[in-house]
């Protein structure tokens, strides 16, 4: 189980840095590692969400050339928070998961911006919000919807195979 989580985190980060750039629409790309973190957190709880978030964040920090720890921290917190939600609100339906993922993207973006502000990040919050965070949240919503559907389909198929 842990190995599969690790592989998902590792694979998500690698795909983000190698494949996802070609999905760019108007300079905006989806944040696949964050989507993976959110989906894992929703299904496995805050510990898994936190660890996966930390791992993918660390990988992205390392491969992206930024400050090592910023994304690790923001994603770990985002994964943890997302993992706490199922105990408090009903998140089983895709119509809840997708807006939740978009909100998480916004929250994680603002958190990351806040962390970067500690290191004198030059851009304004308005610019980052309008040009980076919100478009990416929208894109994440679409990609997240596709991922949720794919996961549901995979579950259905695996159940059928079990019955046979």
């Amino acid at each position: 189980m842990r190995l599969s989580l690790l592989l998902m985190a590792f694979g998500g980060s690698l795909v983000q840095s190698s494949v996802v750039p070609s999905w760019s629409v108007g300079g905006v790309t989806p944040d696949l590692p964050l989507i993976v973190t959110a989906l894992i957190a929703l299904r496995r709880g805050p510990e898994a969400g936190c660890l996966v978030g930390f791992a993918v964040g660390l990988l992205q920090d390392a491969t992206g050339g930024g400050l090592l720890g910023v994304q690790a921290l923001s994603r770990a917190l985002a994964g943890f928070a997302m993992g706490l939600l199922p105990a408090r609100i009903w998140v089983g339906h895709p119509l809840v998961q997708i807006p939740g993922l978009m909100l998480l993207t916004v929250a994680e973006g603002i958190l990351r911006f806040g962390l970067l502000q500690l290191f004198h990040f030059p851009a304004s919050v308005g610019d980052v919000l309008v040009h980076v965070i919100l478009p990416q949240a929208l894109y994440n919503g679409f990609v997240g919807a596709a991922c949720v559907l794919a996961v549901e389909a995979a579950h259905v198929i695996s159940r059928r195979q079990t019955w046979i």
Partner: protein, 279 residues
């Protein structure tokens, strides 16, 4: 359980903050980042090259599809343009034919009617054309039918909307004619084989040779005088007979006619000057 959860979160946060602190103190990339990059970079480049390969294959496929679609469209275009070109050529040829026919019509001092060929009869028993001019157009039997090259034949049957034109090479066709150069009289008759002969040509001193032009004689008032009929290709002399005859190649290619001119009046004028060798 809950306690463990928050310990984990705290640990992760502390590790992250530690990494950040170390970096800011050191002023550059840390060894940890180097180590992670060392592990990640080969996998990253492998995935990137796989992605490039997949993307290349996809582009090849989409290019192939585009080329195939373009090819089909170009083939359709080519076919359409070929048909268009044929139509233009056909129209051009028709235009030329009609211009020549119109020019002849202007030259001929008779009332004429143009007729379009709508049917052909080419068997050995009869050789005829059906023209889209009939009784309603004032067409009557025996009317001469000509084209810019010369004589085609005569109207043999008249119907309400069409007429049947007996061709010169019909086995029952007979036209009074003369050799234009020597004025030797005779009869041009069709043959079952599709040929035309100039018969009843006097044997003595005619001097008719191959290449001589045979024109209508104007005798009998059926055909105006001087309409080209054909050229002599050979003389056949039976020796003992009173007459000999010439094999004639009609000046008109009956198989390639599309429009004709029907002469609806009579004239004593010699038409020879109205026809040129090239029609």
């Amino acid at each position: 359980m809950r306690f463990r959860r928050y310990v984990l979160l705290l640990t992760v946060l502390l590790v992250s903050l530690f990494l950040l602190t170390v970096q800011t103190r050191g002023g550059g990339p840390t060894r940890a980042a180097d180590l992670i990059a060392l592990i990640v970079t080969p996998a990253q480049s492998l995935l990137a090259s796989a992605h490039r390969g997949a993307l290349g294959a996809w582009h090849t496929f989409t290019d192939w599809k585009a080329v195939r679609t373009e090819n089909l469209a170009l083939r359709a275009d080519n076919e359409r343009l070929r048909v268009q070109s044929l139509q233009v050529r056909e129209t051009d040829q028709e235009n030329q034919r009609l211009r020549r026919l119109l020019a002849l019509r202007d030259r001929v001092p008779l009332r004429t009617l143009t007729g379009e060929i709508i049917g052909r009869e080419g068997g050995g028993w009869a050789r005829s054309l059906t023209v889209n001019r009939g009784r309603a157009d004032g067409i009557t039997q025996q009317m001469p039918v000509i084209v810019p090259e010369g004589l085609v034949g005569r109207v043999a049957q008249v119907r309400s909307g069409a007429s049947v034109v007996q061709l010169l090479n019909d086995p029952t066709s007979t036209v009074g004619a003369v050799v234009q150069r020597t004025r030797t009289p005779g009869l041009v008759e069709g043959e079952p084989g599709g040929g035309v002969r100039f018969k009843f040509m006097a044997r003595d001193g005619t001097g008719v040779t191959a290449g001589d032009l045979i024109v209508t004689s104007g005798l009998g008032t059926l055909f105006p005088k001087g309409i080209p009929v054909g050229r002599v290709t050979a003389i056949e002399d039976k020796g003992s007979a009173l007459f000999h005859f010439a094999v004639v190649a009609p000046v008109v290619d009956f198989a390639r006619l599309d429009e004709v001119l029907l002469l609806t009046g009579q004239s004593a004028q010699d038409f020879a000057g109205l026809f040129t060798p090239d029609g």
